[in-house]
């Protein structure tokens, strides 16, 4: 079983965000980088499949050369090798990104049985790169998967919807996008980290394309401090809260 996981380097922002002076990007001077939780689940799923069934797990990203850091940290949990399509650091639009990923996949000697994506990228959330790749490679695609099993060349997947779960299946080769909660990603072990340093990261270049979805600027979403009314400290404040709950009709 040969598995490919596509992931994206993103800043890890927690509390408050800041923008660069030109308002085109998040100010990352004081931030670390990682990948989306969904994509951590994707890598964990790939590692588990290869553990169970044998084969290889390849990682693929399009991003700045610094994205090697994210590839190495995911190689440390058990991927076989990685491919980095190097950009000049500018974010590419979904069509350009998908086209470059497709070229890279077609350029691989390995014909992947399963390509796993995150359900959406953490920073851009375009909800589409996997679908564009599926169309270009003529592969079936199942999105938003919360549980997955591969049996006899068929991917059995479950997706959680507001009123329950849907069960899907598709024959391999296929594309699947997975969600946070699919599994609990492992932490890299010390030997894993050591091995990751020696694993191959192939660097590739891709031709830039004119973005069709052209980012102009970013702005912080207006978040006015609602000016919370502090009802008090500890259990003593409970009667005041009960009054509030009555007022808003939460208790009849």
């Amino acid at each position: 079983m040969d598995v490919l996981v596509c992931l994206k380097r993103v800043p890890l922002a927690g509390g408050t965000l800041m923008l660069t002076p030109d308002s085109r990007d998040i100010e990352t001077k004081h931030l670390g980088f990682g990948i989306s939780p969904h994509e951590e689940n994707a890598v964990e799923a790939g590692v588990q499949l290869v553990e169970q069934m044998g084969g290889t797990l390849t990682l693929l990203t399009l991003g700045p050369s610094d994205a090697e850091e994210q590839l190495r940290s995911q190689l440390a949990i058990g991927a076989t090798r990685a491919v980095l399509i190097e950009t000049d650091g500018q974010e590419w639009d979904p069509q350009g990104t998908a086209a470059a990923l497709v070229d890279a996949i077609n350029g691989e000697e390995t014909k992947f049985d399963l390509i796993i994506f995150g359900a959406e990228s953490a920073d851009s959330a375009g909800y589409q790169i996997h679908i564009r790749v599926a169309h270009a490679l003529n592969l079936p695609v199942i999105t938003n998967v919360k549980s997955m099993k591969i049996e006899n060349g068929v991917a059995h997947c479950e997706r959680v919807v507001p009123n329950g779960r849907e069960h899907y299946e598709a024959p391999l080769p296929a594309i699947v996008t997975v969600r946070d909660g699919l599994n609990i990603p492992r932490y890299p072990s010390v030997p894993g980290r050591m091995q990751a340093r020696k694993k191959t990261v192939d660097m590739k270049k891709a031709e830039t394309r004119i973005p069709k979805l052209e980012k102009v600027t970013l702005a912080l979403a207006p978040s006015k401090d609602k000016g919370a009314q502090i009802l008090g400290k500890g259990a003593e404040a409970v009667p005041a809260l009960v009054d509030v709950l009555k007022q808003i009709g939460a208790i009849a």
């Binding site: 922002a13 509390g15 408050t16 965000l17 939780p37 979904p94 069509q95 953490a122 851009s124 959330a125 375009g126 909800y127 589409q128 679908i131 564009r132 003529n138 079936p140 695609v141 959680v160 919807v161 507001p162 009123n163 329950g164 779960r165 849907e166 069960h167 899907y168 299946e169 598709a170 024959p171 946070d180 609990i184 973005p211 069709k212 979805l213 052209e214 980012k215 102009v216 970013l218 702005a219 912080l220 979403a221 978040s223 609602k226 919370a228 502090i230 009802l231 008090g232 400290k233 500890g234 259990a235 404040a237 409970v238 809260l241 509030v244 709950l245 808003i248 939460a250 208790i251 009849a252």
Partner: protein, 319 residues
Amino acid sequence: MILVLVDHDRGEIDPLSLRALTAARKIDQSIEAVVIGSQAECLAGIVGQYGATTLHVATHAAITDYTPMASGRALKELVEKLKPAAVLAAGSPRGNEQLAHLAAFLDIPMAAECSEITLGSPHHVLRARWGGNLIESANVHAQLLVATIVSFSVEPESVSGAAAKVVAFEPALQPEDFVVKILQRDSGETSGGITLIDAKVIVSGGRGVGGPAGFGNLEELATLLGGAVGCSRVVTSSGWRPHAEQVGQTGTKVAPDLYIAAGISGAMQHIAGMKNSKTIVVINTDPEAPILRYADYAIIGDLHQVIPALTSAIRQAKG
């Protein structure tokens, strides 16, 4: 004319589609709707009420349930015939997915999760990133705008419209549109019978709850208020609660009447999932916790004391 994809689950309309219809009407007076699959003609009344004059119904023997690639191909066929200025859908997993298939078939851009749309050349959109914490201003270079509407950015508004005229069509689909199959459905993982997304009240716990046992008190309070339990990602990734209860950017986005956040700091990815709640009550030991900026009311204190006290006070108040 703007064409709106109205999503439905075997004939039951997705309420987010009503917001998409409303958003479309704010851009263009002339809107038409499309549904994929039989069982959907019954939606002509409601889409008419939300301003659509025509309801296009794509029927095909092979479309018996949700088949996103078939939706994309049917939409492509319709768009080529009707030549609308834009195709919109709700920014739901299904809305995003079906329009992404359309955009992939046409090889044109798609702008997901838009809060504002101005048609032109190029089109201009504001779209949500980072779970709505950042707003991107973007130009979309394509004749046809394909975009989804971010949840909760517009309230659904009806007009006194007559039922839409139903026009059925049978798209020319391909076998590959049906390679992915829905086999079966189960009803949801619910807490006390209420799913997170439908709950009017959510009692949500974070790392401050301390462990799985601590959630007993939150469950009791939630049941008393007729609501459901929610939680932060720390809680699900520690395995304290099922993932279905996670609120936030990578969990579920909710907007209940009352959201009680206990022991949750208010990371932006959590805020992304609950900031549209009507009333937000925070219980936190830290008076500086970022979540306080989003709260209407707060108690500074230990949730292990406050929640049981609250539960018994509500019991008393209810008599």
